[in-house]
């Protein structure tokens, strides 16, 4: 089997995903063009040597619709021989792109692939694409649909975590992100977003707040309490009959931020990379997806990580760094407990609570962050995992190439 090598990883800064966010004015395809330009220039890439572009996008409607991967290839001026495919595995889409690219390379059917994702959540809000899970009553009913935030609150309830517990986690995420930002640890992958004139629109992650405190967060109202009481709590209780009441502990401050952003990685075979003069940075060692209860929805990272570890013949203790997407504080806390790992190895530079979670792109961003940090700390292995809509989980294990 061919090794799947990571040669490069780039991402945009993440802009607040609202009307007053810096990237709200930028079209999603333009976000991607910035990265295609960056990737090409950084690697002096002959784009005709790229077989395919795999992009994740969770809300592929409007200007994000109609296969934005091929759209961006053509708009960015890459060679017309480069194909493009857009897929959605909900919040895992960015990492799914990386995994699919790796499988393409490992199978030998392709030699050089760009993998990443994009999401302009300010322009195409989550849920704009509908979906039978939500809007078809019998599907909704059959799967026991509840919004992810209610699932996160359910995790906290089952684990007995209080509001103070999850808030403390959030404060930590902000602190670590602020420190990493100040230390310029993200600069290696970060490609500023520029307008048509080349003027900078945004060059840093916009939502980091290092001064966040548990006291400050205490004033925020729980985001999912009302909808829980309207009916979703009852749906959770159908599957978790021992839960008398759900403790709604999550809010805007301890959940992933809604942001705009994009990310790309360049993945290929060693041979092709050598031919193109690319330097191997990492190898994708194993990857896995799995499904768990869709109602609680967010407990997939543990089982998915274990599946990937088993595939790689490794155990959690073999991993130097973990990137567990901070969809909600309780999700990471639960995954840490499931994997029985040390919190010190997890999200050392903060995560989505501080910097935001541009749905289709996040998985690829986490690969970039993990790879940069492995190199910075001179460590060997990292595991990237995310919780996924519909109850899924995804995990990827990477290691450095020397």
């Amino acid at each position: 089997m061919t090794d799947a090598i990571i040669f490069d990883a780039v991402r945009t800064p993440r802009g607040k995903g609202k009307r007053d966010g810096s990237l709200h004015e930028v079209t999603p395809v333009h976000l991607l063009k910035n990265l295609f330009d960056g990737l090409q220039v950084r690697n002096q890439l002959d784009t005709s040597q790229v077989d395919d572009v795999v992009l994740g996008c969770v809300t592929p409607v409007g200007e994000q619709g109609a296969d934005i991967a091929r759209t961006a290839v053509l708009y960015a001026g890459w060679d017309e021989s480069v194909a493009g495919v857009t897929q959605s595995r909900f919040c895992a889409s960015g990492l799914e792109s990386v995994n699919l690219a790796a499988m393409k390379i490992m199978s030998g059917q392709e030699d050089m692939v760009v993998a990443g994702g994009v999401e302009s959540m300010s322009r195409w809000p989550m849920g704009s694409d509908g979906g039978a899970m939500v809007m078809d009553p019998r599907v909704n009913d059959a799967m026991g649909f509840a919004p992810q935030g209610v699932g996160a609150d359910l995790i906290a309830t089952l684990e007995g975590w209080s509001r103070a517990d999850v808030d403390a986690f959030a404060v930590d995420s902000q602190r670590k992100a602020a420190a990493a930002k100040a230390d310029k640890r993200f600069d290696k992958s970060l490609v500023p977003v520029r307008d048509v004139n080349g003027l900078i629109v945004l060059d840093h992650d916009e939502t980091v707040r290092g001064d966040t405190s548990v006291e400050g967060l205490a004033s925020l109202k729980p985001s999912f309490e009302m909808m829980g009481q309207m009916g979703f709590d009852a749906t959770c209780q159908l599957r978790y009959p021992q839960v008398e009441a759900i403790n709604h502990v999550h809010h805007a401050g301890n959940s992933s931020g809604i942001v705009d952003g994009a990310a790309l990685t360049l993945i290929g075979s060693r041979e092709k990379g050598a031919a193109l003069g690319l330097k191997p940075r990492g190898r994708i060692r194993a990857c896995a997806v799995t499904g768990t209860d869709p109602t609680i929805m967010l407990t997939g990272p543990g089982p998915a990580s274990k599946k990937a570890l088993a595939k790689a013949g490794m155990s959690a203790s073999d991993i130097d760094l973990f990137e567990i997407n901070e969809a909600f504080a309780a999700v990471v806390m639960r995954a840490v407990r499931d994997l029985d790992i040390d919190m010190d190895k997890v999200n050392v530079n903060g995560g989505s609570i501080a910097m935001g979670h541009p749905l289709g792109a996040t998985g690829a961003i986490l690969v970039a962050t993990a790879l940069d940090e492995l190199e910075r700390q001179d460590k060997e292995t990292a595991l990237i995992t995310l919780c996924v809509g519909g109850g899924m989980g995804i995990a990827t294990i990477i290691e450095r190439t020397h």
Partner: protein, 723 residues
């Protein structure tokens, strides 16, 4: 009716046709030999020929559809629907009616529904397919799509036309809850266009509209039709749809397929044109028609309830009686409630207690209820005064003179009951009936204190009396048929449903209800999670979890009854699985139930309206969790089988004679799962043989109380069911 002379002499037909000089054809539904019009072939076949005339006869310029009966059209022929077991047949039934209505709707000529009275179900669907609806403002007339109450959905276009008429979000509650609206409310809700003072005015308005609108189309057939409130992909609706199934399940716990299918019809139909929507509706309708739940519900809430209300259990040969003056002994919660429901229907009431103060307090209960009713616009000051004037609160036994019915509702103590029986019989109308409202003490024993044992009977009310629809009449060994007939008539007089049972400890309802609570407490003692026990109770279709219910009826009262039974029965007493736990809760832990603020739950103070009761955390210490936690499905079976099996024992012992009494009694009396159509219907639907098999399995695992009733074993052998 101010009908214009007929142009042709017609034989007796279900649909009369009358064409007037202006070319307005009035179709009057008036099925021969029936008091109500009902949707069946006898009606649809002459309707079809009328439709052909409308389509082909140029002399017909407009159409008015009305009824020659008191009501417009009550709906489909339930007997026919009930008999269908093949979904293709149900699908055809729906599509044929839909096609007929669609032809009417698209005939190009104005069609007006002149609603002289109630239009429900298929009746309202006919009206919805007309271009204009005018109704007589008759406060008794009801309009709605109540199919859901029988586990069905409106299969004649109702799920497609109503949302297109008034919007998805306005139409859903009407169909999901089967709400019936008055003419005024239906007009306010946009279902009816105009109200009329009387039938003449209605026909006049109908005709005027026909004349003014020579070419009529339904709004949804007009070019550029827009859904009021948006179609099913409108963001506002999508947001609501995301939570709609959860909101539904909060009430139904997934036990009712009809609301789910109604939602599907509206949502899926809300993305397509009406003709496609109708096909979708017919498919979901067919699924419900052949579903076990609709068979259960139709069996019990239609056939058996109707039979019950028609007096199936009332002895024949006695003239219908009316109570004029009722004496109620004991002005506590029950007595006060009985006084209220009696006075409300015009019966003179003497409410007696040992002190004037206690009697007054009992009367104040009625006053409070009426004040609340006035606040909600359901009563008026004059009605209140009138009702209260009928209740005489007293501490004098002499005031009971002339009462033709006595209902004794004093504390459940045999000696006390005997005393009041004697003193009352001395003054009451000697031809009157003496009823004892007892929930457990056998009637035959209580009758020993009576000098007129054949006029002594049990009349068991449920609490709160003003809300609970059932009354259990208990026939003692010596109660006469005449007495039973009079008690039966009284229950109907106060607008409640009577079931008739024979004497036994706990009679029928208390005895079977007890098995549910007993099972919940037993599960707790076995180390099942208390919250999961409650949830399993709710998911089985019971209105309240067993532990909460035990708190409501009070742990100490339950213990009191057990102690009394032990004393009365001696060696024959079988200790229920819950007794030790109840004893521990009450005697060791001082937790008597809701009334002292602590039982299986902790109760917030009464003045804290926002706080909710919470399971007592101490349960974890005193009833530690077992290693093996049962599935909800297993606990659900235990609840349902315990109650159904006990009902079968009641049948076996002759306590209950009629299947309808058992089924209705179980649902109306103690809230047994309505989806199952009652305890005996649950056995029928499970299959008697399968029930016996599963009951034996449960007995092996959890105790001999699950050992199937002998009658069931016999029935399984001979292939019988309860009917």
């Amino acid at each position: 009716m101010s009908a214009v002379e007929n142009d042709v002499k017609q034989p007796a037909t279900a649909v009369r046709q009358e064409l007037d000089a202006d070319g307005i054809l009035t179709l009057t539904m008036d099925m021969p030999g029936r008091s109500m019009n009902v949707l069946n072939e006898e009606l649809t076949s002459p309707f079809a020929s009328a439709l052909e005339r409308i389509e082909s006869d140029a002399a017909v310029k407009g159409v008015i559809i009305t009824s020659g009966k008191k009501e417009f059209l009550a709906g489909a022929d339930i007997e026919k629907v009930y008999a269908i077991t093949d979904p293709a047949e149900a699908f055809a039934l729906s599509t044929e009616y839909q096609a007929f209505l669609r032809r009417l709707e698209t005939c190009g000529k104005p069609v007006v529904a002149a609603l002289n009275g109630t239009a429900l179900g298929g009746g309202l669907e006919l009206a919805l397919a007309c271009h204009y609806r005018v109704a007589v403002n008759n406060p008794k007339a009801k309009f709605g799509l109540p199919e859901v109450k029988l586990g069905l959905l409106p299969g004649g276009g109702g799920t497609q036309r109503l949302p297109r008429l008034i919007g998805i979000q306005n139409s859903l509650p009407l169909m999901l809850e089967g709400k019936e609206l008055s003419a005024e409310k239906a007009k306010g809700g946009g279902i009816i266009h105009a109200l009329a003072a009387d039938i003449d005015d209605m026909l006049k308005q109908a005709k005027e509209w026909c004349v003014a609108n020579p070419k009529a189309t339904a709004p949804w057939d007009a070019k550029g039709f827009r859904w009021p409130g948006g179609d099913a992909k409108h963001p506002g609706n999508v947001q609501m749809l995301a939570i709609a199934p959860s909101m539904l399940n909060q009430k139904t716990f997934g036990n009712y397929p009809a609301p789910r299918n109604i939602l599907s019809c509206v949502v899926e139909g809300g993305l397509v044109d009406i003709d496609t929507g109708l096909k979708i509706e017919a498919r979901y309708f067919a699924e419900l028609v052949v579903s076990q739940v609709s068979k259960n519900m139709i069996n019990t809430f239609w056939f058996q309830l109707n039979a019950l209300n028609k007096g199936e259990s009332r002895p024949q040969g006695f003239e219908k009686s009316q109570v004029k003056k009722v004496g109620i002994l004991g002005a506590g919660m029950m007595g006060a409630g009985i006084a209220y429901v009696s006075a409300k229907v015009g019966i003179e009431v003497v409410l007696k207690d040992v002190s004037q103060e206690a009697a007054n307090k009992g009367k104040a209960y009625s006053e409070n209820l009426l004040t609340k009713a006035i606040q909600r616009g359901r009563s008026t000051n004059s009605q209140k005064e009138e009702i209260l004037a009928r209740i005489k609160a007293t501490d004098q036994v002499e005031d009971l003179a002339g009462c033709d019915l006595i209902i004794e509702a004093v504390f459940a103590d045999r000696d006390l009951k005997a005393t009041v029986t004697k003193e009352t019989e001395a003054v009451m109308d000697p031809t009157g009936v003496f009823g004892s409202n007892t929930s457990t003490l056998p009637i035959t024993g209580l009758a020993e204190a009576s000098v007129r044992k054949e006029q002594f009977i049990g009349i068991h009310f449920f609490s709160p009396v003003d809300k609970m629809p059932l009354v259990e009449i208990i026939v003692g060994e010596q109660s006469s048929d005449a007495t039973l007939a009079r008690a039966f008539d009284y229950v109907q007089q106060i607008k409640k449903t009577p079931i008739v049972v024979n004497d036994s400890r706990g009679f029928y309802t208390s005895r079977c209800f007890g098995t549910y609570v007993n099972e919940g407490v037993a599960l707790l003692a076995e180390g099942q999670h208390p919250r999961a026990i409650e949830q399993a109770g709710l998911m089985s279709g019971m209105p309240v979890g067993p532990l909460a219910l035990q708190d409501e009826v009070s742990l100490s009262l339950a213990l009191h009854v057990m102690t009394q039974s032990r004393k009365d029965m001696g060696d024959a007493y079988k200790e229920p699985a819950s007794e030790k736990t109840l004893r521990k809760m009450v005697e060791e832990l001082g937790r008597e139930g809701k009334k002292n603020g602590k039982g299986f739950y902790d109760y917030p103070p009464a003045d804290d309206r926002k706080a909710k009761k919470k399971l007592w955390p101490g349960l974890a210490e005193h009833f530690p969790l077992a290693e093996q936690q049962l599935s909800v499905a297993e606990m659900r079976d235990r609840f349902l089988f315990a109650q159904a099996n006990e009902t079968a024992r009641c049948v076996e012992e002759g306590v209950v004679e009629k299947t309808g009494d058992a089924n209705i009694g179980s649902i109306f009396g103690w809230g047994f799962a309505p989806w199952a159509g009652g305890t005996l219907q649950f056995i029928n639907a499970t299959g008697v043989g399968s029930f016996v098999e599963r009951a034996r399995e449960l007995a092996g695992k959890y105790g001999e109380r699950f050992e199937p009733a002998a009658i069931l074993v016999k029935m399984a052998e001979t292939g019988q069911t309860f009917n």
